[in-house]
């Protein structure tokens, strides 16, 4: 039955040409966009953003008072005070306020050198999220509440973080392994303060993201063992802000037994601010989506229009199996279409973008594979949905319109900022457009304060969960189609 339906599909020249057109549209859109994209910084090529040990783009800039550590060792300190400023925050944007952003950080760190992106582990106090143990940019574990004392202990490649409220009874937060950590590392105290980022809806649609300079200052005492500190502004570029020039430069001050460090920046995974995400290269898939919806709906509705459905049901009278076999063939054909489109587009687009000076955030093999397979699945599930609609409605135009309305329109509304962020999130949770989450290469992180929004390509559901929503919709329509075709006369 599957073979018969495949023969049927492949012997319709229109369908096969349409699927080729879908591939061509995706590839052409991707390559033309990539070829036309050029990025440069002040006349020269842009420096690549730092890449963390796990291969993802990171932000790695902070104030670091450090000294070398050979082999195993421990560092303990108490954070006696932590203060900060935010420049011209909303609502009035007219003054510098003495406040800290929630993820302002002060603590201890062991790092493989001072090069941005190098492996590290840290135990730290934050402005609003208590004590944490963080490592290698994405690792984040919460420590005990109320602690001010921090301790970092290295044994080989394993680093253990502790926190304490009184300096005598210690709680272990977590032990992490930094693979390949050399014998000599840098150990020390650090301060970072991420920018204050807000997003406002623009009256005409779209949104404006604003980032404001912030700075945090922490006083450490009871530092043991102390002494021998070197200061570095890790990952620091440019001349600095007016605040740093005229009020408080970033740096380290030692007085008596205490160490005061001021600094800005963050130690965290980066988002799309580092460069366009990988999935932007397959944006042409959106055009392919229309083609696939038409092909899938027609696959069944044309049979109704010509009366061919009777021949089909005479040849294969078990109607539910016939409907499912057709669905399977449509799924497979469109899945392969998406897969080929992705495999043709991605490598060439990436090379072209790179040649044009544009940095595309690298992704791991798993994420890359998910996006390639995701291109196939997004197309095939949309096709399945349109096909199911076709079985239910038996009218080509109606089925196509419904499929576009359910899959394409919510995605457009949600990602172009024409509806408020929260409404957009709901659209991407409950409509079949949720499945586009499978293409999201850069996740949203809890330990980063950023106005993640669908308009920037951040989906409310995890990749496979989002795809699951779409799959449920598609399956539901095919199931409805089965019910419909089994009930009535053909």
């Amino acid at each position: 039955m599957l073979r018969a339906e495949w023969t049927k599909l492949r012997t319709l020249p229109g369908s096969m040409i349409a699927l080729l057109v879908a591939i061509t549209l995706t590839v052409a859109f991707g390559l033309l966009t990539a070829a036309g994209t050029h990025t440069s910084c002040l006349g020269g090529p842009c420096p690549d953003p730092p890449v963390g040990p796990d291969g993802q783009v990171v932000t790695d800039s902070f104030s670091f008072a450090h000294r070398p550590l050979d082999g195993d060792g421990t560092l303990t300190a108490r954070v006696t005070s932590m203060t900060g400023i935010i420049t011209y925050p909303p609502p009035h944007n007219d003054e510098i306020v003495n406040e800290m952003v929630p993820w302002a950080k002060a603590g201890l760190m062991i790092k493989d050198g001072t090069k941005p992106g190098s492996p590290y582990a840290s135990v730290l106090l934050t402005a609003a999220h208590g004590v944490r143990m963080q490592h290698n940019f994405t690792g984040d574990a919460a420590g005990p509440p109320g602690a001010r004392w921090l301790r970092l202990d290295r044994k080989g490649e394993t680093i253990t973080g502790y926190a304490s409220a009184d300096g005598t009874s210690w709680t272990k937060i977590s032990a992490v392994r930094l693979d390949g950590l050399p014998r000599q590392v840098q150990i020390g105290l650090f301060v970072a303060s991420p920018s204050n980022v807000t997003a406002e809806a623009n009256g005409r649609g779209g949104r404006v993201v604003k980032a404001r300079f912030t700075q945090a200052t922490a006083v450490f005492d009871e530092v043991g063992p102390g002494g021998g500190w070197t200061y570095d502004g890790v990952g620091r570029t440019g001349d600095g802000t007016d605040w740093e020039k005229f009020h408080q430069p970033p740096g380290m001050r030692e007085s008596g037994g205490s160490l005061t460090i001021s600094g800005s920046g963050d130690i965290a995974p980066a988002g799309r601010e580092a460069g366009p995400p990988l999935e932007q290269t397959v944006a042409g898939l959106f055009a392919a989506l229309f083609v696939v919806i038409v092909v899938a709906a027609m696959f069944i509705t044309a049979e109704y229009r010509r009366g061919l459905i009777r021949t089909t049901l005479i040849a294969t009278p078990r109607r539910h199996r016939t409907v499912v076999a057709k669905a399977g063939v449509m799924f497979a054909a469109t899945f392969v279409t998406g897969l080929i489109a992705a495999l043709l587009t991605l490598p060439v687009s990436l090379r072209l973008l790179r040649a044009g000076g544009t940095f595309i955030a690298p992704v791991g093999f798993g994420v890359g594979l998910r996006i390639v397979v995701g291109c196939g699945l997004v197309l095939s599930l949309a096709a399945l949905l349109a096909y199911g609609m076709g079985v239910v409605l038996r009218r080509g135009i109606a089925a196509m319109a419904c499929a576009v309305l359910l899959v394409v329109v919510p995605h457009m509304l949600a990602t172009t900022s024409v509806v408020p962020d929260e409404a957009a999130r709901w659209l991407l949770r409950v409509t079949p457009a949720a499945g586009f989450a499978i293409l999201q290469s850069i996740p949203a992180y809890a330990q980063v304060q950023y106005p993640y929004a669908p308009a920037d390509g951040y989906f409310p559901l995890a990749p496979w969960a989002g795809l699951g929503v779409t799959a449920l919709w598609a399956t539901a329509f095919v199931a409805l189609g089965v019910v419909r075709i089994r009930r009535g006369d053909a």
Binding site: E303, G307, A315, A490
Partner: protein, 243 residues
């Protein structure tokens, strides 16, 4: 010999207030062509669709070879049907139309070429079916019906659109098929054609059988099949016209 009979038993079906089948009962046996005649709207098409499992009867049964059509595996090897010769995808070639049907019955592609030769469509087989004349579509439909070499054939108006040569060919083909001990049910309005061709006749009106007997018996009583038809269906037509 139930293996190649069509047994229609007490079929009833309504479409809303309209009665399509009203206790329709007859049996088609192998060895001769059975004509299936009656005025438009008498229930011929509905009966055939119920036999083929396309429409559901409100009551009664229709069995092919002793089984319901929907229960057949590889049904085209049990029953061949020509219902609507125009039911084709216009851009698919005639050969490919038969090819997907063959695949659906797990028949080899070789069989497709055999039936194409049999119906004389071998030359046009690779052209788009949308460009076929009605006669060619009929031949393609017959090819599809014969694809599974079935012991039972159900053909709706097989002579439609055929040229004189095609009519002669079709007549011989149907005779041969019946002579091979197949059951052949032909719905047609061409009484003169059936008079020469059919051995048995099922005449229906208003959803039930009004005559079910050998053609020879009918022509013996009424002189010709046409006269028999007009005599036997008059009441049915008048009754309906008066309603």
């Amino acid at each position: 010999m139930r293996a190649n009979t069509i047994e229609v038993s007490r079929l009833c079906k309504r479409y809303g207030p309209a009665v399509a089948l009203d206790d329709m009962t007859f049996t088609v046996r192998p060895g001769h062509v059975t004509g299936f005649v009656g005025p438009n709207g008498a229930g011929k098409s509905t009966t055939m669709r119920v036999i083929l499992g396309l429409d559901r009867a409100d009551a009664g049964t229709a069995l092919v070879g002793g089984r319901r059509y929907a229960e057949l595996t590889r049904p085209l090897t049990h029953v061949g049907a020509l219902i609507d010769p125009g039911a084709l995808a216009p851009t698919r070639s005639g050969r490919n139309h038969l090819l997907w049907l063959a695949h659906s019955q797990r028949l080899p592609a070789r069989r497709v070429d055999e039936v194409l030769d049999l119906v004389g469509l071998a030359k046009a087989a690779r052209r788009h079916a949308g460009g076929y004349s009605l006669g060619m579509k009929q031949r393609l439909g017959v090819a599809a019906a014969l694809l599974g070499d079935p012991p039972i054939l159900i053909l709706d108006e097989p002579f439609n659109g055929l040229d004189p040569e095609g009519i002669v060919w079709m007549r011989e083909l149907l005779r041969d098929l019946a002579a091979q001990q197949r059951s052949v049910l032909i719905a047609s309005h061409l009484m003169s054609e059936l008079q020469d061709l059919a051995g048995h006749l099922v005449m229906v009106g208003r959803g039930h059988v009004v005559a079910d007997e050998p053609v020879a018996a009918l022509t013996g009583r009424h002189g010709s099949l046409e006269a028999a038809y007009l005599a036997l269906t008059r009441t049915e037509v008048e009754f309906r016209a008066a309603r």
